[in-house]
């Protein structure tokens, strides 16, 4: 199999630029990378660290091979996100010892949260919101101290509380319950970090109350935050509380006295007219994870407009991808809507030449079309709809490749097999 003409395997970068592996002369580099604020990533050592504005984030959350992290603008609404000793955090039968252990950022700034009673026991904060149902994702980093359980609650009205219980020994959420249908549990997740730390998240539709409380409790037995426990000494370590008004979890954002927003990542301007063969080619993307935002995010080789383009992208329904080739004034030559699990790795290829279009997903040919023209003037690869911005793709990118020929079915299936 021939080498790709253009290969983006996240590895080299500098401010404002993401280097391509191929071609070696730099013609495939993404020459525009912007993010107007600091962001965070998991570095090679497995610790969370800040990355300066306009610097691509190569994230090692999933292991030894980094992904390119592309995220939308997100805000952490939880103030004092790693200062649980601060007065804004209400303590009920809880003792907080500040800066007691090394945190996921490899600094001595994680707090010890200890029970002081077998009775109801929790630390919480309450934020003001509009009196309507809103989508939220709450998350926190937790490390086991004494006791096997950690309980979380999100709550507007008490009657509409949602409870979660995490068990350290099984590294899993063993219980989740929404007490009424006025607040809806969407999903939960657990991600393990260095040194016994876990990031636990819960996505939910709130009730209509004009406040939202987030509660946390260390436990030696399974139970909710306000249930009794056999232990009066159980404890956990906490760091990095985050509340986002959206349906998905993103990288951590530290706050002090105000909510803080991280701006979106924009990555475009790879290649030029000489690099891309409009008459025939193959476009491959390997996506570790796709963010379920409300947009139709695209990865596109285009002519700098929406007229001629080869596109692989998510649908706003967050259950499908759409693959298509368009020419001249945007006329669709071939396209396929395909069901996708956004939370797992997915690989796609589009191959195109005159009257021959093939689409592949995870090792299978999912669509072909034997009629249609080809695009002209392709000159840029971008993580948006047409290299001009708009419909930015957000997720974790393992690999993007372009071949200047339509690779064979056997090659395409081998390349996309997970």
């Amino acid at each position: 199999m021939a080498d790709p003409t253009l290969a983006i395997i996240p590895s080299g970068y500098k401010s404002g630029k993401l280097y391509s592996v191929l071609p070696e002369n730099g013609d495939g580099d993404f020459t525009t990378f912007t993010r107007s604020t600091i962001g965070t990533r998991v570095n090679k050592g497995g610790f969370i660290e800040s990355v300066l504005s306009n610097v691509p984030r190569l994230d090692y959350t999933n292991g030894k091979c980094p992904v390119l992290l592309l995220e939308p603008t997100t805000t952490n609404l939880q103030i004092r996100s790693q200062e649980f000793d601060n007065a804004i955090w209400s303590k009920t039968n809880v003792t907080v010892t500040a800066n007691n252990i090394i945190s996921p950022s490899n600094e001595l700034n994680a707090d010890k949260i200890s029970r002081s009673s077998t009775a109801a026991n929790y630390i919480n904060d309450i934020l003001t919101k509009s009196a309507s149902q809103l989508e939220y994702t709450s998350s926190i980093f937790v490390k086991q101290g004494e006791g096997d359980y950690f309980a979380l609650r999100v709550q507007g009205n008490y009657a509409d509380r949602i409870d979660i219980r995490f068990q350290f020994s099984t590294k899993s959420i063993i219980y989740s319950n929404a007490a009424s249908s006025n607040a809806i549990l969407r999903s939960t997740s657990v991600k393990e970090y260095n040194n016994g730390w876990f990031r636990i998240s819960i996505s939910y539709l709130s009730d209509t109350r004009n406040l939202l409380g987030n509660y946390f409790s260390a436990r030696s037995t399974s139970g909710n935050i306000d249930g009794g426990d056999t232990s009066s000494t159980a404890f956990v370590y906490l760091w990095g509380a985050m509340i986002q008004q959206n349906t998905f979890l993103t990288s951590y954002i530290e706050t002090t006295d105000t909510p803080v927003s991280k701006s979106e990542d924009v990555c475009q301007d790879s290649g030029d007219l000489a690099l891309f063969n409009s008459a025939e080619g193959s476009m491959f993307v390997d996506i570790e994870k796709s963010i379920k935002d409300s947009s139709s995010g695209r990865i596109t080789i285009s002519d700098g407009s929406s007229n001629n383009r080869v596109t692989i992208g998510k649908q706003s329904n967050n259950s499908q991808f759409r693959l298509f080739v368009a020419h001249t004034n945007g006329t669709i030559d071939a396209q396929k809507y395909t069901n996708v699990d956004f939370n797992v790795r997915n690989k796609f290829i589009i191959t195109w030449k005159l009257n021959d279009f093939k689409f592949y997903q995870n090792g299978s040919l999912i669509h072909f079309d034997i009629s249609g023209s080809v695009p002209t003037g392709l000159n840029a690869l971008a993580f948006n709809e047409n290299n001009l911005g708009g419909q930015d793709f957000f997720g974790q990118i393992n690999n993007v490749q372009y071949y200047n020929t339509a690779i064979s079915q056997a090659e395409a299936q081998a390349l996309t097999t997970i």
Partner: protein, 120 residues
């Protein structure tokens, strides 16, 4: 980059102003922004935090602003005229009248970006 802080009489007015920055419609009829500015909808911001008992019952109501607030990180740069004269970037048309001047970061910050050194 510049940061602007704005207040509008209501959410509808703010949404209309955001839409005026540019939107397009995708193949499925969904609108999406065509600009690259980061807009954070703060809403009717809390001027004084509420107070609550240990069970989450409100003991003192929060004080909210009567105005709808936005923070914007503008992807705008200063330019130079043909004579080499510096032309400072300014609020996009129609936004200046809603601008709020603060002497601190206020109730919201952009990560690692100080408002006072990045305001218009």
């Amino acid at each position: 980059m510049y940061i602007g802080k704005y207040e509008f009489k209501d959410q509808k007015t703010a949404e209309a102003k955001i839409k005026g920055l540019g939107v397009a419609t995708d193949e499925d009829g969904n609108e999406y922004p065509t600009h690259k500015h980061s807009i954070v909808k703060l809403g009717y911001i809390v001027l004084e935090r509420g107070e609550y008992d240990s069970e989450g019952n409100e003991t003192k109501a929060p004080v909210l602003s009567s105005k709808y607030h936005l923070d914007v990180a503008w992807q705008l740069e200063d330019t130079y005229s043909e004579d080499g004269e510096l032309i400072k970037a300014d609020h996009p048309y129609g936004w200046k009248s809603a601008n709020v001047e603060l002497d601190s970061n206020g109730v919201h910050s952009f990560y690692g970006v100080d408002y006072l050194t990045h305001k218009f």
